[in-house]
């Protein structure tokens, strides 16, 4: 249950446009919603924490569709963030058709997107952050939960440097990381040395002696309170991403180590202890129930956007979404070594109603200038909404899988279940930038290889267990692997080995034969030495060949059971 006060805070964003149905014009909607509405906040206490996470290098405003399917398992079934669509609107008391419904759910997405426009953009974010800092001088801290240096053409070409410049300019106070590590050990060390703020990751140790690689904790004094912030990088980076790129670093949840760091911070006189985490929401929920003394967990990794804090014992969990779509503001009353009260608002960054910060606009323009022609190259158009986010499949993944099968002459395609990737609306041009926003990684080679039916089943079961293991500490991260050319059923409540059924080759309608070899194309292999053209070239060629691509949600992957 959310309290009345929390509801009111949330309602500012969710309710501003109550009554704004589909008949409203975009202009009317934008007149109704203003920058001041977004910033409106009844201040509380002596400390303000601002948080973004998982922006995936999106400098420019984008569309981002929230998931239709987000299944919770075990003890967490049906709890936020495992609530979507209509159920989400009901739970948080948001009316359909409002800006809140548009920001937080998949409902009427493409129609509402035309009304309310794009979200995010680092120059818009800069405006909001500057305004809040001006309102709360000496009280404000701004944290970045990571997945910041990867996800766009400019971040790929500058090897993360564009984002380092932008995050320095935003006056970030600390960050933790995940995809940052996919630039490899040397580059990470180089970029960390360029930061004006702390890169904190207490759970990263060297593989030889298990000694800390980065700073674990950074301490601030704001509003007369001593604030300790502990960094927690994505625990399964060397499992989910290529380990060969960071061979000397070991990760893991390291719960006992987190407790040690919290105790040390308290012993050092911290009035407030914050975990800046890239664990993922369910891992943090479990961690908060087992580690004592954390006041706030700023969660990340799973891209969840929740308009109210989730309370676990005495710890508040904040979920700030992804892609620069939201800025979290958390006001705290910290006195006598204790958090006495809080007020929270998840601020949607509606690009069209926020005046861009001119300095940040200039910096972004400068960063993009060398790549402008390439970024803007139109490859074709989309006939349907293209998106990725969701547990099972996304329409942009269907385009990628079609591209892999056609361009590489394969019977089956596998595409990774990443959570990042901006959405496109029906009729929109698809540019090189858009394709990069869906595919830009440092290990982009597309492989083509024979796989037996048995191996395909093993892979699907393995990935399904990484998503649906009832113990979140055993979830490795990412959504289900996307599959083209093959249908199957999935029952999340089963154990590993029993979740996947009815595997069918769509080309012939025949059941997958465990003994037969199939021609499989895919990308983002974590194995060193994978060869093939980069995925963005494959997808680009496919879109150019078709002119217009269309992918409607389909039922090749069917959820069964519970």
């Amino acid at each position: 249950m959310i309290s009345r006060r929390e509801f009111i805070q949330m309602g500012i964003a969710a309710g501003t446009l109550i009554g704004a149905g589909s008949s409203w014009t975009r202009l009317a909607a934008q007149q109704a919603l203003t920058q001041d509405d977004l910033l409106q906040f009844d201040p509380l206490g002596n400390v303000t924490l601002l948080h973004i996470t998982d922006c995936h290098a999106q400098l420019m405003p984008v569309y981002f569709r929230e998931p239709t399917v987000n299944i919770g398992v075990g003890d967490f079934a049906g709890l936020p963030p495992h609530v979507t669509g209509k159920a989400f609107l009901q739970k948080y008391g948001i009316d359909p058709g409002t800006s809140g419904a548009y920001a937080l759910t998949d409902q009427d997405f493409s129609a509402l997107a035309r009304t309310y426009g794009r979200v995010g953009g680092m120059d818009r974010l800069a405006t909001l952050i500057k305004a809040i800092r001006a309102e709360r001088p000496g009280k404000t801290l701004f944290f970045d939960g990571g997945d910041t240096w990867q996800g766009s053409l400019t971040s790929y070409r500058t090897r993360g440097e564009d984002m380092v410049r932008v995050m320095n300019a935003l006056g970030t106070d600390a960050m933790t990381a995940h995809w940052e590590f996919t630039y490899g050990t040397d580059r990470v060390e180089e970029l960390v040395s360029q930061l004006d703020f702390g890169f904190i990751a207490g759970n990263v140790v060297d593989t030889e002696w298990e000694e800390p690689v980065f700073e674990a904790t950074t301490t601030f004094e704001r509003g007369g309170a001593k604030i300790a912030v502990i960094g927690q990088a994505f625990p399964y980076t060397p499992v989910a991403n290529p380990r060969y790129m960071i061979p000397d670093w070991s990760f893991g949840i390291r719960e006992a180590l987190v407790q040690e760091r919290v105790d040390a911070a308290r012993a050092d006189g911290a009035d407030l202890v914050v975990l800046l985490s890239h664990n993922g929401f369910d891992v943090d929920r479990k961690l908060a129930s087992r580690v004592n003394g954390i006041d706030i967990v700023l969660t990340g990794h799973t891209h969840d956007a929740l308009p109210a804090a989730v309370k676990v014992n005495r710890t508040l969990l904040i979920a700030s979404g992804s892609h620069g779509k939201f800025l979290s503001r958390l006001d705290l009353d910290v006195r006598d070594g204790e958090m006495k009260g809080y007020r929270y608002k998840l601020i949607p960054v509606f690009s069209d109603v926020i005046t861009p910060d001119p300095e940040m606009t200039d910096l972004i323009t400068e960063i993009r200038a060398p790549y402008k022609a390439e970024l803007e190259t139109v490859l074709g158009q989309t006939g349907s909404t293209l998106y990725r986010r969701g547990n099972l499949n996304g329409t942009f993944d269907d385009v990628i899988c079609d591209a892999l099968m056609e361009q590489r002459d394969a019977e089956i395609a596998l595409s990774p279940g990443f959570r990042w990737g901006a959405s496109l609306l029906p009729g929109q041009d698809i540019t090189v930038e858009d394709v990069h926003n869906m595919t830009s990684i440092t290990y982009p080679a597309t492989y083509r290889t024979p796989m037996s039916g048995e191996l395909l089943k093993t892979i699907l079961e393995d990935v399904a267990d990484n998503l649906f293991n009832p113990d979140p500490y055993y979830q490795q991260g990412g959504d289900m692997v996307r599959v083209g050319g093959m249908g199957f059923t999935i029952d999340p409540a089963q154990e590993i080995g029993s979740r996947i059924g009815d595997m069918t080759l769509l080309r012939t309608g025949a059941p997958i034969d465990p003994k037969r070899e199939y021609a499989v194309a895919g990308w983002a292999s974590v194995n060193e030495g994978t060869e093939g053209p980069p995925i963005w070239d494959i997808v680009g060629a496919h879109i150019q060949a078709h002119g217009t691509v269309t992918a409607e949600p389909h039922d090749n992957v069917r959820l069964v059971g519970g």
Binding site: E210, V239, A240, G477, I496
Partner: protein, 149 residues
């Protein structure tokens, strides 16, 4: 005095004696239950808080999984840890190592690395000087990887 890790290990080497379980050429490997029975002589094993076992929830590299054991014991002449047996119940040969301690060890703590063929439980059993046996278990998942994010 502040010791660095390398010096501490060098000192520790004198106090701790580790037997890596030898291969039994040709003979079939014992099952986990048989290994436990052989170690305890059939005595009751208590699954309590005496033994702490540290292992990753998901292995980063199944070929070299770091684990640590630490036993809550004063390590005095009349109350100390004698031996600790490490088993991996899903490996073709579950027996991994036996660590021998004495009151002179100072503390009963050890770290090692092991190879895990697949997802399985790591088991650590300690024999105390009072003749009791204590056990801790940790599940370690070995996964294909990829797709995260």
């Amino acid at each position: 005095m502040k010791l660095n890790r390398r010096e501490a290990l060098a000192l520790g080497a004198g106090a701790l004696f580790v037997t890596l379980t030898p291969f039994r050429g040709g003979a079939l490997a014992n099952t986990t239950d048989e290994e436990i029975k052989a170690f305890t002589g059939g005595a009751t094993v208590m699954e309590d808080d005496v033994v702490s076992l540290t292992a990753p929830e998901i292995a980063e590299n199944g070929n070299t999984v770091p684990i640590g054991v630490s036993i809550d014991s004063p390590m005095t002449a009349d109350n100390y840890v004698k031996r600790v047996r490490i088993l991996a119940d899903g490996n073709p040969r579950p027996a991994v190592a036996t660590m021998h301690f004495s009151p002179l060890s100072g503390s009963a703590e050890a770290n090692t690395r092991m190879r895990l063929a697949k997802t399985q439980n790591i088991i650590a059993i300690a024999e105390l000087s009072d003749g009791t046996y204590h056990m801790a278990k940790a599940a370690v998942k070995v996964t294909i990887g990829g797709c995260g994010g």
